[in-house]
Amino acid sequence: MNGSGMGSSLPAIARSVSWNRREFLRSVGAVGLGAASLGLPRLRAMTPPRGQKAVVVTFGGGARDEETFAPEGQENIPHLLHELIPQATFFTQAVNRGILGHYVATASLATGVYETINNFASLPPQNPTVFEYYRKALKRPATDAWVVAPSNGFNRIGESDHRSYGDGLGAGVILPKRLLSAALAGSNTDLNHLLSDNYETPLYTPELGSSEIHLQQLERMLRLSVSEFTAHARSLESPDELSVYLARQLMRELAPSLLWITLHDIDVAHSGAYSLYIEGIRRSDRLCAEIWKAIQEEPEYAGKTTMFILPDFGRDADGDSGGNGFQHHRTGDPLSRTTWMMVLGPGVRQGAIVDRPVESIDLAPTLGSLLRFPTQFAAGKPLPEVV
């Protein structure tokens, strides 16, 4: 029971973090001062185009300001700072008030409710996911909502067990590492570096979920032969690169209107190796830019896709004696709960900063407003700045 000596309240620290992010962004010219002074009414988004699509990118394993937006961290996020934020509406404080485990936090993002499921069990979310809301309300086929998930523990993320939704209404789930393992079955390989799973608890290997894509579907749905898949994998450095590769394949072949990609390389921080954590941040920064570039290049997506980028939560502060700095997210301290979100796309104001606190559970209803479907069980609120 170590005291942290951090007596400040969550709102006060969140405001401070928010202010710092705004100043950091100004310092590198990532946003204009004019945009920063705009009031809420003028920040309200313009009407989105028809045929709207949405791509959500989350970091499972948040990165702290010290390694990202603070002056000494900016070298790690050149793409976010100089390419994406100038085109984005940036929310400086997205607060997660739920359980700080990656699976349960991602489930909360997807449902708009702070889920309480066991983070390390193969369980579906308790509340309907955006995928179910979307498909049921708009009568969309199964091929129109997909999740590319980082860890094998995310195999149930696409579909809840809610009695009004659930069975068959969710998103397809691609677990790239599981696919690669299956593709490599029995063969000696040099691809083990792409198979690192769940840095927080490497002891967990869940059973397959019903909506998860299987190896035989690789060729049928993604038009990707096992040999092509494994050959390309050999050119990749990390599990997240494999995820983005498959996400791009999905975009090309199925062009889902709701695509959710969760990156996870940053979470190598749990091993305590700071240098690997920094490498993970730099890779995530580059991959976010690549995803945005892919959106601009794909005819099905260009000009009609909104992208959301946000960490699921932060990491422990150096100053909290209950934690061990960057390594974990166990203390529940304000910094580990306060993160950011950026939104890019048609109808979204560029170079704008929103300082008011929003919650991570606001994402699901915001997606609902954007794509025109109700999210009646979600506890969050749509963000007027982007819808």
């Binding site: 029971m1 005291g3 290997t205 091993s271 700071y274 240098s275 004696s321 700095g325 974990h328 529940g332």
Partner: protein, 403 residues
Amino acid sequence: MMPSELKPDHFKGYPPQGRDLAIRHLALLRLLPLAFLPILLREVIDYDWKFPAERTDLDNQFAYLNSLNSDQLNAAMTSFARFAPPRQFEKSDMVNQPGEFEQRLTAWLWSTRQMDAFQTAAQDYAEKLRTASLEVPLPLRRLSIVVVGQGVEQSSYPLFRKLKPLGVHFTKVVPENGMSLLRQGVTARAQSHPLSFGHWYIDGGPRFEGAWDAVTCISYAELEPMRSALLHRMRASIQSGGMGPETLRTMLLEMQPHELGATEPDPILSRFQVRVLTEGSGTQIYSTSFAQWAAREALRRAQPVTLLVRFAPRQRERSMDELLSNTKSGAETEVDPEGSLIDADIGGYYTWMNQQRLSGADESAFLIWFEDRNEAVAIGPSMPRGTSSSSSMNLGQILALMS
């Protein structure tokens, strides 16, 4: 069982000193809330293997609680008493398995979104305890030394960024015999002020040559057989399946030194070694994580007046499966000196922070050195903050300046 139902017999499974402690304070234990008691019992059950500083802290905690009258005790415990775990918690064996109970309690607090309130309660209590405890003067100024960068050929990494503003940046350190001079400095302190577990040397590689009389030593290389045994157990658990990660974590936390083939004759140090390997994340696979976490735990638990931590190159990143299976021998393992330097740089900063959490922080001193190079930072009352020195000095001379 509720706290009020505790009887002396319930503690018969405790080690002797822990049992005596519990029975001596049984009347108090019966008055404590269910959300507080197991956390205290987790300390009591380990009393026999605690460092002297930890025993003093626990004794002080009991003295503080016993000094309160009924109303004061109720007031001190109110913030814990309002957490009411579900009835099934009462069936748990919180006396003999307080760690498992604590894990369940933690999961329940998270799932019911009460963790923040609980942590606030814990912080308030810790502050009251700290205020009530008398600070005993240290026999000598606390000193931590961190050595980083072993094996690095070239690096453009901006070292010591967080520490430079806090002290003097030495740019012309004479590196010859650096480790020998540090060993001499540490052993001299240990011999002039012999203290049980008061002087430590932790190495992320093999132990540096020479005598380390009166110094508690722990090295990554010497723990290789224990690490291998632990990785084998973890691997077997993964392959057998059937156990959730929380059960496996409990299994690791309950692991005993003999189960990992520990050879350290001192039972307290042997336990500490096991705890570093089973509680620390990444300590089993990366020497840099081991060195940082061992230093953190040594400072937090043993509260030494002298600590020397030397980081060594860790193995290069591989998949978690490969790392856990540990199929490559030490000689085959490829290392990553440049990455390790970056790991050690933040590890040094964390070591300074952890030292500053201990008593006598205003007077404490800290030195970090880029091994075999000319660069070091020294922090302490006699070291002007945010300054640099181009004086040519060896490490013995710098230590003398700091004392």
